[in-house]
Amino acid sequence: MKKNTGKKPQARFQSKESVLFFIFIGIFVLMCVLSPQTFLTWRNLQSMAFQLPELGIFALAMMLVIVSGGMNLSITFTAALASIVGGVVLSTMTAAGMGPTITIVAGLATFVLIGFLCGALNGVIVADIGIAPMLATLGTSTLFEGVCLNITKGGAISGFPDAFLWFGNASVLGIPFPMIVFVAVVVASYFLLERSPFGFKTYMIGCSPTVTEYSGINVKKTLRIVYIISGILCAIAGVLMSSRYNSAKESYGSSYMLQSISAAVLGGTDIAGGYGKVVGTVLAVMIIQVISSGLNIFGINRFITTVVMGAILILVLTINYISSGRKASSK
């Protein structure tokens, strides 16, 4: 549907992403004005900084896959599975009386390992067997959910060492730890996607897999890595979530899947693949967070906030369509 019009990267950056920036500033100011005493408080900023990273990391995990021309519908259940298996490790070791440090290290390693494995499975199914990513990840998400339920029998895993709560709830110099993790992930994603050969290949595959193949690039290998990284990102989000809820359950995070697609698309990522900027996605996540917190503090019913989010998504895409309709003359 849409192809890169061949404009200079700089010009495109100025158009889409700077609009997002202005929208963000606009909405932030709006919320400050609507709720002067409560929005612009340290407490609220901190609270937003605690909530944002989960969606942000999921959005980046989703964006990466979308840029490669696919979609990852299994992100939430990857995170859930990582949380549950990691949680089992954490709680068993805690119950066995082992020290918190070694428990947490083992736990974290488990989280990342499961994220890696889930991503690898997705990667193999998409790259090697060749199933359409949306359907492949639909299948794996059902599979992961089933494994989660099998382990938990529908309940939640708890019994984590107290120190584990630190990841999702503590602040360093006033900055919530999840935010620090998020910033690290953003920087890493930026360099990985927009400043490395691997990232370049990913964009190419998103534009046209056939052309990329003929260029001599190993499409399959790149795709596998894309899904693995996506899986590991989900695992990191899983760590933050299970620390925040002090438990692991297959349903935690289920709302994030569609929200992360919204964030990626809102952030300017082309759903057909081939274009997407990390900064755009981050701005989109910030916009979503500010709207959600701001409306809530102002006293708007949560459900209306949901409606607003959906409307904004459609609105932004409509604006994109109108503006690209004016610019582009090709089809």
Binding site: F22, I23, V33, Q37, Q51, K153, N169, K249, I319, S323
Partner: protein, 328 residues
């Protein structure tokens, strides 16, 4: 993209001119959060909680997730903490999941209570129970045996798997049954229904199919016995399977009438809501509850020796005969 910028600017101006800073009257604000909203039990407690707010002249915000989801409760509470309220009374779907957010509430100086189902004891300032968990659990099993006899196959349908109150009753009942009714046979692990009557209905149908010799069903969590009775009624098995449990008398009546539901036992949820708000308000004013205290519109409460656990009173059994006398 000037068009968009202009659009946003216009939007801002419009909203700024219409957005008036709401100055809140400085009444204490208490948030009462049930496991979920939308089921009759918690609708009834809402009436009680709101009435207490009126009687005492304080702000009561009664709100909760629309599904029995602990994660959603955490998110909502986080928002209220940043809004700044005076007290939070929550019925946690999962006590472990709510511990971090309740700790943060305490750190922010907010009074923390649990009601209907306990949270982690170390985090709450007060724990409001409607009945004594152990006694209640045993009582439910007694009711079952009275209806189905003391031997045979039975199953347990519960609400949320992590709900501490439900698990408390089930564990007490099972322990009791081990010694007192050894010939009772539990056919499978307790089955969750997420506080949804529809799920209880479906699961009961599945149970009937899977275990044709089933003689009894216990449904804890108020929508559950109704759903189970619905299934039993539909299959015409009311004489074969005895359904007992915890449910509201008004919802139960149609099923009590024809016997698909034999007996239910509960308390007045409106009273529970009322009590919770009253106790929270008292605590905000520095008054702790004591054993034998008489609370207006509620009755005499008992407080356990730890000083933190309040028990509202004994349960009431509702049967075909007396269900019509109750308005909840």
């Amino acid at each position: 993209m000037n068009r968009t910028q202009k659009f946003v600017a216009v939007l801002m101006v419009l909203l700024v001119t219409t957005g008036v800073a709401f100055a809140q009257a400085k009444k204490p604000t208490i948030v009462v959060m049930p496991k979920l909203v939308g089921i009759p039990y918690f609708n009834a407690s809402e009436t009680g909680a709101k009435k207490a707010g009126q009687d005492l002249g304080i702000n009561v915000i009664y709100t909760g997730p629309t599904t029995a989801d602990a994660a959603e409760q955490v998110r909502m509470l986080e928002d209220y903490i940043s809004k700044g309220v005076d007290a939070i009374c929550v019925a946690p779907n999962d006590p472990a999941a709510l511990t971090p957010v309740l700790k943060r509430a305490k750190a922010a100086g907010i009074l923390v209570l649990d009601w209907d189902t306990p949270a982690d004891k170390s985090v709450v300032d007060l724990s409001v129970h409607q009945i004594d968990d152990v006694v209640y659990g045993q009582h439910i099993w007694d009711l079952l045996v009275k209806e189905m006899g003391d031997s045979g196959d039975y199953a347990i349908l519960t609400g949320g798997l992590s709900a501490a109150n439900l698990n408390g009753w089930i564990d007490a009942g099972l322990a009791y049954a081990k010694t007192k009714y050894p010939k009772l046979r539990l056919v499978t692990d307790k089955i969750p229904t997420d506080e949804k009557q529809q799920v209880a209905y479906q699961k009961t149908l599945d149970l009937i199919k899977a275990y044709p010799n089933l003689k009894g069903i216990i449904g804890v969590s108020t929508p559950t016995p109704i759903g189970a009775a619905q299934a039993v009624q539909e299959k015409g098995l009311k004489n074969k399977i005895a359904v007992v449990g915890t449910a509201l008398p008004t919802d139960s009546r149609p099923y009590l009438e024809d016997g698909s539901l034999r007996v239910v036992t509960l308390w007045d949820p409106a009273k529970l809501g009322y009590l919770t708000v009253v106790l929270a308000n008292n605590m905000l004013n520095g008054k702790k509850p004591y054993d034998g205290q008489e609370i207006a519109n509620v009755g005499k409460i008992s407080v356990k020796p730890d000083g933190k656990t309040v028990i509202m009173g004994p349960p009431t059994d509702f049967t075909k005969e007396n269900a019509k006398n109750y308005a909840f």
